[in-house]
Amino acid sequence: MMKFKRKFKHKDKNNQISFIPDAQRAYYRTSSINKVAKLQFRIGFMLLLIPLILFLINLLYRPYDTTSMNMSERFTAPNFSHWFGTDNYGRDIFTRVMSGLPLTIFISIGINLIGCLSGLLIGALSGYYGGVVDYWGNRIGDALLSIPAILMGMLFVATFGEGIWQVIVALGIMFIPSYMRVIRSGFLEYSQRNFVKRLQLIGASSGRIIWRHLFPQIRTRLMSAIALGFANAILAESSLSFLGLGVPMSQITWGRMLKDAQGFLFQAPWSAIAPGLMIVILVLGSFFISNGLKQFSQQRNMT
């Protein structure tokens, strides 16, 4: 009997014994949505840990040179000295995957930065002001949406030549509409709330209402959009590089590596598998985190 009772006794912060039944306690602690979101966060972070570890190793130690060729070791299958095998020039794929990571992530961040900031500007203004501003904001979004990303990439490469910045700017512009729509819908929703009217009544300026009051409301939503955009940017960069429109030959990104592996896919499948797998891991990881964030924000909206 004593033992049974003790099970229900808990001490709270002030070291006082409280008698809240366990069932109730569980209800307070977590709802089911919270659990799912937590699981998704956990999986996402675990997946993202793999590229992070690779990045740290890359900073400290590279087993092989990334560019020097070694013809005697062409197309070596994965073994203990070359974990992921070698490519057509006998370069170690593990080293190349590791050293391709920073640039891949840099490009992805750059793309999202351009897309998010411009999307925020257009989306916030059109969502808050509505009317004519909203009309033209939407038309800009539609116009951008109607251009295929590959065509935009070709346009930039044809005009400015191959390069990292061309890829970032071209894809960044392509990412504006998706961000714009997320942000616009958030601003549209919250600018109809009564507190915005109350803010106008106390004489708050439009800038103040937009940045101090409306922007924080959509922050979680934006975070999940960024996590998703991050994954999409890696994919978009890969597909551009795959078509040969991406970063120059001398630079290593995972998309570039995939493109190089295209020619001897049946001879040495491992040269495509390693970068492809890394892309999958990174994309999945940020996708899970994005989903978790989305569920957290939904839960917050409910309460």
Partner: protein, 325 residues
């Protein structure tokens, strides 16, 4: 606070205000009202009579597509119908304090109460953070909130409805406005809290020398609070007078019927009078008396002309041909 050297006779003077929607519907047809310094004026009317739209026009926050077609609004002898957004920001929250209906929706759910009240000071004054905090606490106490240090750290959803309404009132009066506009501040509240809020508005009027424009459809609160009352019907004031005159000796048929339809102990056992329902929602220009279709004493002239305000008593006017002598 800044004092105008030449004190205006009327703190707020609205002249022939007409507000129309983009489709041309007349939401407010011809409203004229005057508020003297220190006066509490009530604006009464049924839903859709243009009470809230009039206040929005005064505050300059008309929704998109709705605009002032005619008329002028003078605040301290200055026309505020066509001022710029910056000028508007200087007046709202500083010289005109506005309490909005539906307190639960009027606070930003992500920001603590204290900071939200503080924001009004941040916008309009350049006090130091210390002074601002003292003033926020002081104003919160003035609106009968207790335990203010703790309350300031709370989020809006942690407060009760009455507390939220008090917070909104605190925001409206923190800059000692000359005019306080209360747009149905008691709608979402229960009866006991309602009377507390009414007392509070009275107190603010007395202690801070603020004129009050009180908008309501509830005669019981108007009776307790107001010095003068405007009765609005379909965007036109039909009767104006001191509260005493309006409540005790209503002259216009609309006011009479409105007051008759309030249940009271004296009318126990009798059938309550009800008005004929409105047959249509007419939003075109007014050419005849708008109340004619529901008026029990309607006669030929009502269907042909629009009545002016006819004087009945000192300060008591009604827009009805019965008083055209």
């Amino acid at each position: 606070m800044q004092q105008d050297l030449t004190k205006a006779e009327y703190i707020l003077k609205v002249e022939h205000l007409k507000v129309v929607s983009a489709q041309g519907a007349e939401l407010v047809r011809d409203v004229s009202l005057k508020i003297k310094p220190g006066e509490i004026v009530g604006l009464v009317g049924e839903s859709g009579s243009g009470k809230s739209i009039s206040t929005m026009a005064i505050a300059g926050i008309l929704p998109e597509g709705i605009s002032i077609a005619q008329g002028k609004i003078f605040f301290n002898d200055r026309d505020i119908t066509r001022i710029s957004a910056q000028e508007r920001c200087k007046i709202n929250g500083n010289k005109i304090g506005i309490i909005y209906q539906d307190a639960s929706q009027s606070l930003n759910p992500l920001i603590r109460i204290g900071r939200q009240i503080d924001e009004v000071l941040k916008i309009h004054t350049d006090l130091s953070p210390q002074e601002r905090r003292d003033r926020v606490y002081g104003t919160m106490r003035a609106v009968n909130l207790s335990n203010v240090e703790k309350l300031a750290q709370r989020y809006p959803h942690e407060l009760s409805g009455g507390q939220r309404q008090r917070v909104l009132i605190a925001m409206a009066i923190i800059n000692n406005p000359e005019l306080l506009i209360a747009d149905e501040p008691t709608t979402a509240l229960d009866v006991s809290v309602k009377s507390q809020i009414i007392e509070l508005i009275k107190l603010i009027n007395f202690s801070r020398k603020a004129s009050v424009l009180y908008i309501s459809h509830d005669f019981s609160t108007v009776k307790k609070l107001c010095d003068r009352v405007y009765v609005l019907y379909q965007g036109i004031p039909v009767e104006v007078g001191a509260t005493e005159q309006i409540i005790k000796r209503p002259q216009h048929m609309y006011t009479k019927l409105l007051l008759e339809s309030i249940p009271s102990p004296e009318k126990r056992g009798q059938k309550l009078l009800t008005m004929k329902a409105r047959t249509r929602d007419y939003r075109g220009p007014a050419v005849n008396c708008l109340f004619a279709e529901r008026c029990p004493k309607v006669f030929e002239r009502c269907r042909q002309e629009l009545p002016d305000m006819f004087k009945i008593d000192k300060g008591h006017q009604a827009a009805c041909f019965l008083f055209d002598k």
